[in-house]
Symmetry: C2
Subunit: 322 residues, 2 copies
Amino acid sequence: MTIRDVARASGVHVSTVSRTFSAAHLVNAQTRSRVLAAADELGYRPNRAARALSTRRTGNLGLIVADIANPFFPPLIKAAQSQARARDYHVFVADTDEQARVEEELVRSMAKQVDGALLVAPRLSNRVIAELGRDVPFVLVNRRVSGLPGVLMDVAAGARQALEHLAGLGHREVAVLTGPRASWTSQEMVRAAEACAGEHGLRLHRIGPNPPTEEGGAASADEVVASGVSAVLAYNDMVAVGLVQRVERLGLTVPADLSVVGVDNTHAARYFRPALTTVDMPVAAAGRGAIDLLLQAVTTGEPPGTVSLDTRLVVRDSTARR
Amino acid sequence: MTIRDVARASGVHVSTVSRTFSAAHLVNAQTRSRVLAAADELGYRPNRAARALSTRRTGNLGLIVADIANPFFPPLIKAAQSQARARDYHVFVADTDEQARVEEELVRSMAKQVDGALLVAPRLSNRVIAELGRDVPFVLVNRRVSGLPGVLMDVAAGARQALEHLAGLGHREVAVLTGPRASWTSQEMVRAAEACAGEHGLRLHRIGPNPPTEEGGAASADEVVASGVSAVLAYNDMVAVGLVQRVERLGLTVPADLSVVGVDNTHAARYFRPALTTVDMPVAAAGRGAIDLLLQAVTTGEPPGTVSLDTRLVVRDSTARR
DNA sequence: ATGAAAGCGCTAACAA
DNA sequence: TTGTTAGCGCTTTCAT
């Protein structure tokens, strides 16, 4: 079913059919309904790929994340996808397996097929990101690169709240388990934690980088114990969970012997026992906001600015007075 | 950067450049390397949308799921996406919010843009699915529709194992919390549970349909308690978790007063306390397998058959002797 | 092995 | 308001 079939069936020229679908106001109301009726009858649907060829707009967006199975991402993907769909855009979702190389290749291979892309918590260097930004308009989530639009979740504020919470509970020696080296979130956490530690007279032990997984958390347990800290701020909930499980196997109890704070407020944080004290990230809002910024960039050509979203500490049962 | 730029730079005709990328064996080795060099130099990348117009192959696949944020799906999406990427396909991921209407609209709107689609645990009726199957080749996951290829996870076997496990623990009155009415998985569970209950002299109470969420499980708690059963097989882990939380608020203890079995073996099942006894679903294998079948259907035009994958009961701490 | 030319389905000046 | 025409970037006969 092509535009020609519809044109023939409704007795008008193809361009009239085209207009009916892409600039309805340019066509006479009666003609339009005749065309629409014929199209409906024939089950015609515009071919977006063909349209893309002349408009240079595909109606597709790319969404690139480090690991779909990491529970941080699905709610963000869902929100972004839903927002995009509401604007009649389709979303390609791809997973980089935490590898910068794959991420770069993915952006390049998508570049021609999408009008823009969302890079969520990218693992690429700022330099490469800036370079790729010349190929496709994109919006970054949880990464600040000057000149590029982004949505940031204010994890620094969350980390600060977490450390103040720990300080208030009497902890003096605190470890921060860092995440992947290329993670902006991790860097922010560390920066904020260090500043905050200074203000509150805490001694901060930096342990990492760790893979952003349970295994990563488990693997750092020995070092945590050896460091003699009484509290830990982990890169994310999965790391926190892995750490707790391992230290409990070593004979410690959480939170009696060790307080642990996670980040992300994923399901795991609620289900786990002890339920995790964690930094809540506004992922759905970030997903929607990022799509809005991206579409703004795409439609106006103007790179929009950077948006920062609040985070907040959720206190549960994995932290206690020292 | 188009094929013309490359042609000009390498001193050949556009059709030669085209062949270099789509049928390399038809072009002289030296010419080919000259073209490749020029293309590389210019950073040329074939425009897939343009290519699609003449080949009628987009290189895209659709992946439609009921709810990205339901932890059952992400590992499946990840596996499917990764498998597709290895075959040089991109995948559109879309979320239907559990609504059959949205699902249908999504398939229709993707139809022209993809070479095939994966429908995971569709909520549509068999009739509509069969009808859509004429527009786009697709593969179903967890749904059997005669004539359409599919990957099924043998939840019936899992349900049977679960009931035998419960029977072995001395339970005689068992409830099954059904899921969405249109869910094949839910229907299979019930069928298998009923057959199995007959064989083992259990009395089975069917309670549902329930939304496949924690709220769904919580909402059925009263009915579960009123029914006087000592064990429950829930539609999935989230329903199980919701149920457990609510019955504990009602003063019961799991598993002492009530044994609960989930389905899916999501993260929640491991983190939750008591850790859930649950039916493990081979989601990653299903995702990969479905992509393989789909690509086979797409490339050969022959609809492949149906594959069934084993499930197994994972016994943890939410079930106990009556 | 390569070039020439037509066409995939649609849009977008331009003309009428 | 509608029709005419020339492409968008690529593939694919058909010649050479």
